[in-house]
Symmetry: C2
C-alpha cells in the first residue's frame, strides 16, 4: 500500500485565499491540466464527464423547444467578420488569425471563430427566402477562441467549449419571445440541474453584446461573493439582417428583414459549480451532474465477502452512476479522494455491516452520516440524492440572500462594495457616465437590470438624478 | 398549395454520373450547404442529426471498453508538431497556421490540429510516471483541419468532425491488443449500425499513418465500386514515447517507455452511408442512424379525423423516431421528400384506411408495400425496421461480393481495374516499387492486407517474385 505514504495533499483553505483554493481544487480533483499551449487547457476525464452531463441535459431541453443542431466552419474570412460594425469592433482585438494554409499564404486571412454570428448570417442569407423558411432555430456545440491576456481554468481561457444558438424570425416579437424563452431554459437548467440560483435580467448598453439590441443574462453569486455571468441571450433586432442582406418574402408578398437572436453557455459553468458548491475538502457536485453519484468504499476489503458485497450493491444500484473503489489504498485515503472529487454519496460497507445487513451512507455536501438497512438500499439512495440536489440549491440561495445588500446612498454603496462581497441592489439613472464612475470608484459593474424590479429609491445611487431602474451591482469574474 | 408547383427536383441518375448524383443527394436531402469559407461546409440539421446518432452509439461502445473522453487544445505550437520526424513530414504540408493573436504577432506560430498525437504525447509526458498510471485510454470528439486542395462534402473537406482515441500502455502487447480491439469496435459498428460490411486488414508501409509502426483499416465498397477507408487504428510502438520522453517506472522499478495507439472515425462515414445505400430517389438510411425512422403521411388530411389519427399513431410509436408530415403539400410531394431524405418507413393513412382499421407501410430501401391491421402497429413497425436493417447489410454485402474479383496475372489484373469497378484480390511481394507501378499503371492502391488471407497464387501480381501476402486492391475515395 505504497499510496498510503503520500495521502491526499491539503488544498489551500478558501477563507485564506479563494483564488488559490479554486486552482487547487481544479487541479487536485483532476478536472484540468495546463498545456504547452499558453492559455489553453486539457479538460481531463473527471472534468469532461461533467461537461457531457451538462451537454446532454441542456441539449434535451433545447430540443424540447424545437432547436435543431448544425455545424458551421471554425474559420471566418476577415471580410465576413467586418460586415457588422459593432460586432467586428467587439471581437477583432481578441481573435486568432490564420494566415497560411499548408505552405501557401492565404489570399484573405481568416480568424478562428470567437462566436459565429457572422457565419450564421452568411448561411441564413442563402437559406431564407420565404416566410415558409422561418423560423430557423439552430444551435451548435463547438469550441471557440478568444485571445485573452489573462486566463483561468474554465472561467477565462483562450479556447473554450460552448453551445451557441442562432435563430431567425419573421417578426421582432418572435425574436424577443425566443430570446426570453432561452434565458428561461438557462435559468431553469442552472437551478434544477446545477443547483445554482440565478438573477434574470437585462444587461445595460455598456455591458451588452457587440451588435445586440438587447442582452439578457443570468447572474450567479459565487461563494466568495463575486458574480459570475453564467449564460446570455441576445436579441439582435434586424441589425445583422441588414448588414448581411437576410430578407424573406412575407405572406403579403413584401420583402422583409428577419429578426435574429443568439444565446450561449460555456464550460465556465463548471467553474460556477466549483465556486458555488465547493468546500475546503474539494469539489461538491450536485447529483444531476455528478459523473459518479455514489462511491462504494469497502472496509477491510481483503476479508472474505466484502468486495463481493460491494459489487452486489453496485449491481443493485444500476439506475445510478456508481463506482466501487477496490484499489489497494486505505479507506481513509479513499474517503479523501471521494470528497476531493465531489462524489455526492459514499457507502461504507465492512464485515460487521454485512453481518448486520447494514451500511453507512455519508453525504458529501454536509457530512451527515446515516445507517441504513440494506433491504432499503435503492430507495434510500434515490431519496438521498434528491434531497441533496434540493438542499444544495437551497443552501446556495440562502448564501446569495445573505450576501445581497441594498444601498440608497453612495457612501454606503461604496462601503458595501469595498467590504461586503456580494450583490448590491441600487437605483440607476440609465447613464453610462454613472456606470463608468462606479467602475472607477469601486471596481464594480452593473450585473443586470433584474426582471423583478423593486423601487428602493427615486434617484440614481451615483448622480442623484431621477432613476427608474434598479440594478444589481457587484464585482465579477 | 403553392409548393405543388415545383415538385421535388430530379437528381442525376447514379448510372449516368455517380459523382453528380452524390452531390445532388447531399444537397437535396439537405445534409450540407456550401459556405463562404472555401473547402468548408455547413452540416445542416438533417446531416448533423445523423452524426449525433453515430456519435452517441459509437461513444457508448467506446465506454463499454473503458474509454474516457477528454478535450485538448485545438492549437499545436510548431515546435511540438516537429518532435516526431515522420509525423511532421506527413502533416506539415496540409495544416493551417495561426500567426497572430489579437493585434500581436505570436512568438511561435501554431497550427490548427490536423490530428492530436503530439498534444496527447505532451499531455501524457506530464501525466504518466508509474505503471499505476497505465493504461491511459482517452478519446476526444472534435473538429480537425487539413488544408486539402480538392474537397468533396463529407469525403474530403478542410475541416471535418471526428473522434480520435489516444492510448498509452505498459507493453507492446497491450498496445497491439488495444489497436485491434478498437478496429473490431469500428467494424462491428459499421456492420451492425450503418449496415456497411467491411474488410479488416493492415495497411502496407506505403499507406500507413505518418509515425505509426502498423496501421489497421476497415475498407468498405461504395455502390460505384470504389473503396472508402472508413476507420483506422494505429499502433505507434514506442516511437512517439521516445520523441516526447513518455516514461514510467515499472513494477520492477525500471524506467520504461510507454507503447501507444490512436484510432479515428470521421463525418466521412455519412458519405459512406450515402454511397453504399443511396439510390436514384435519394438517400436511404439504415434505421439505426435514421433521425426519422417513420414518416406518417396522411392522405386527404383535410377530412375529419385523418390528422387526429396520424397523431394518434405517432403517439403509439413513442419508442421510435417518428414524424407526421402535416404540411399543406400534396401526398405525392411528401412521398418524394420522404424518399429523398431516406426515411426508412412511410405510413400512408387516409379515410378509407381508418374506416377499415388499416394502414399501408412502404419500405424506403426496396419500395415494398404492406397493408397492416392497425391493432398490430407497434410490432409491425418494430419488425419491419429490424428487417430493413438486416437486409440493407445483406444487400450491401452481396453487392461487394459481386464486385470482388481475383487476379493471378498482371494483364487480367489491369483489365479488371480498368473495366470492373470493385476490389481485386491479388498477391504482392511486399515491395514498395510494385505498389508504385500499380498506382501508375492502373490508378489503384493497395487497400489492405486482409486479416483473412487466401493463398491465391505464389508470386507477386506485379513483379513475379515470391509473395506471401494477399492484398485487396482498388480505386478509392
Amino acid at each position: 500500500m505504497a499510496d498510503d505514504k503520500k495521502l491526499v495533499e491539503a488544498i489551500t483553505s478558501m477563507d485564506v485565499d479563494f483564488a488559490q483554493w479554486y486552482t487547487d481544487v481544479v487541479k487536485k480533483a483532476e478536472l484540468i491540466d495546463y498545456t504547452s499551449v499558453k492559455g489553453c487547457m486539457v479538460i481531463k476525464p473527471a472534468g469532461y464527464a461533467i461537461w457531457e452531463l451538462i451537454q446532454s441535459q441542456l441539449d434535451a431541453r433545447f430540443k424540447e423547444t424545437g432547436v435543431e443542431n448544425v455545424y458551421l466552419p471554425m474559420f471566418i474570412p476577415e471580410s465576413l467578420l467586418q460586415k457588422e460594425k459593432d460586432h467586428v469592433e467587439g471581437f477583432a482585438p481578441e481573435v486568432a488569425w490564420v494566415t497560411h494554409g499548408g505552405l501557401e499564404p492565404l489570399q484573405e486571412r481568416m480568424c478562428v471563430r470567437p462566436t459565429s454570428e457572422t457565419l450564421f448570417c452568411d448561411f441564413y442569407a442563402n437559406e431564407i427566402h420565404s416566410y415558409r423558411d422561418l423560423p430557423k432555430v439552430y444551435n451548435q456545440w463547438c469550441s471557440v477562441v478568444r485571445w485573452e491576456k489573462t486566463t483561468r481554468p474554465f472561467l477565462r481561457s483562450r479556447e473554450f467549449l460552448w453551445q451557441e444558438g442562432h435563430t431567425a424570425h419573421a417578426t421582432a416579437e418572435d425574436a424577443e419571445a425566443r430570446t426570453i424563452q432561452m434565458l428561461n431554459v438557462y435559468a431553469d437548467f442552472l437551478e434544477n440541474v446545477l443547483a445554482i440560483p440565478v438573477i434574470k435580467g437585462q444587461k445595460t448598453d455598456k455591458e451588452k453584446f457587440a451588435g445586440a439590441v438587447a442582452t439578457y443574462t443570468i447572474e450567479a453569486l459565487m461563494h466568495d461573493g463575486k458574480a459570475l455571468q453564467s449564460g446570455t441571450s441576445h436579441n439582435f433586432g434586424d441589425g445583422f439582417a441588414k448588414a448581411f442582406g437576410i430578407q424573406y418574402t412575407s405572406k403579403e408578398n413584401k420583402l422583409e428583414y428577419v429578426h435574429q437572436t443568439s444565446w450561449g453557455m460555456t464550460t465556465r459553468l463548471i467553474g460556477a459549480i466549483i465556486m458555488v458548491h465547493g468546500d475546503n475538502s474539494g469539489l461538491v457536485l450536485p447529483p444531476r451532474v455528478a459523473p459518479v453519484q455514489v462511491a462504494i468504499i469497502p472496509i477491510q476489503q481483503k476479508k472474505e465477502g466484502v468486495l463481493d458485497k460491494a459489487y452486489e450493491l453496485k449491481e443493485r444500484l444500476k439506475g445510478f452512476r456508481v463506482k466501487v473503489d477496490d484499489t489497494d489504498k486505505s479507506p481513509g485515503w479513499k474517503f479523501s479522494e471521494q470528497e476531493m472529487r465531489g462524489i455526492p454519496v459514499r457507502i461504507e460497507i465492512g464485515p460487521r455491516d454485512i453481518e448486520a445487513n447494514k451500511a453507512i451512507l455519508v453525504r458529501r455536501d454536509n457530512g451527515e452520516k446515516k445507517e441504513i438497512n440494506l433491504d432499503n438500499l435503492e430507495t434510500e439512495i434515490a431519496t438521498l440524492l434528491d434531497t441533496i440536489q434540493v438542499e444544495m440549491l437551497e443552501r446556495a440561495r440562502a448564501h446569495r440572500e445573505e450576501h445581497t445588500y441594498t444601498a440608497t446612498d453612495y457612501a454606503t454603496f461604496l462601503d458595501i462594495l469595498d467590504n461586503k462581497p456580494g450583490f448590491v441592489k441600487a437605483m440607476w439613472c440609465g447613464e453610462r457616465a454613472c456606470e463608468d464612475k462606479i467602475k472607477e470608484d469601486a471596481q464594480a459593474t452593473s450585473r443586470c437590470m433584474p426582471f423583478e424590479q423593486e423601487k428602493i429609491a427615486n434617484t440614481c445611487i451615483c448622480c442623484g438624478k431621477p432613476a427608474e431602474k434598479m440594478v444589481y451591482w457587484g464585482k465579477a469574474y
